[in-house]
Symmetry: C2
Subunit: 157 residues, 2 copies
């Protein structure tokens, strides 16, 4: 089973693809969708095109995306939500089942505690996937964490 995790942001969106097998989890691909600068609607247009291209090529069986909760900066929250809306549409268009997951569930699922630090989560992401710790952009590590947490939910069902 191939699981996609997505971390939506205002100017960049991280994604992480993992495979869940009997032996554990395997890192398939991860990165940032390239979104050329421009006005909001053209960035959303590019985001859809990039996400669709990846979905067509990777064909994930399931996608996880974080729910948005309270933000200090409401302007940021609104911009992230606009990108998230386009991503949810793109997943529905591609027929990929979506798991919405809270930030708490991600921390619990990856590092065993809802109070886990960003560093602890990153460390567990590298450990789960058997890849050498390296400095990935936060958005990519977060997207992989979402995919790992979703894989655990799938396991426990």
């Amino acid at each position: 089973m191939v699981i996609l995790g997505i971390d939506p942001g205002t100017t960049r969106v991280g994604y992480g693809l993992i495979r869940k097998e009997a032996g554990g989890l395997q890192h398939l691909a991860s990165g940032l969708f390239p979104i050329p600068p421009g006005d909001l609607s053209s960035r959303l247009f590019s985001l859809h095109a990039e996400a669709k291209k990846m979905l067509v090529s990777a064909r994930p069986d399931r996608a996880g995306i974080e729910q948005l909760y309270f933000f200090k900066n409401q302007k940021t929250a609104i911009e992230v939500a606009e990108a998230r809306g386009v991503l949810l549409f793109t997943l529905a268009e591609a027929g990929v089942p979506i798991v919405e997951i809270t930030p708490l569930q991600v921390k619990l699922g990856v590092a065993g505690s809802g109070n886990a630090s960003k560093k602890a989560v990153a460390s567990m992401v590298f450990r789960f996937l058997g890849i050498t710790p390296r400095s990935l952009p936060d958005d990519v590590t977060d997207a992989l964490a979402v995919a790992i947490a979703v894989s655990g939910n799938v396991l426990s069902r």
Copy 2:
């Protein structure tokens, strides 16, 4: 010139189409996009399908959509922003130039004052379009107000 106004909401989205001619403004069509109940991603999928169908048939020259500002209820703001993201994408996909307009600019453009009441705005919407005052859903009246305000901006350029 055909101008579309959109009022994005969480469970329903109002739209209003007007034509701007030498003699003034003319009401072409208005209503709510039908969005069947379901989970968020399937509602966003339906919203895209309905908006796209309307754009293909009406071929507006320009579309106005309100910017989102501060909300009392952050959950509502996020849900509206998700719908707004899909609408902006759909407009970009259809190649319709977008005018983002503030609620203040809508009130100023339609009723002459940034403090205009909802009732005053509705009354001016009916007057501008030469249609009999009637009880349209708020979302539809608001969408027509956006279209009218955008038509004034177009005029003044």
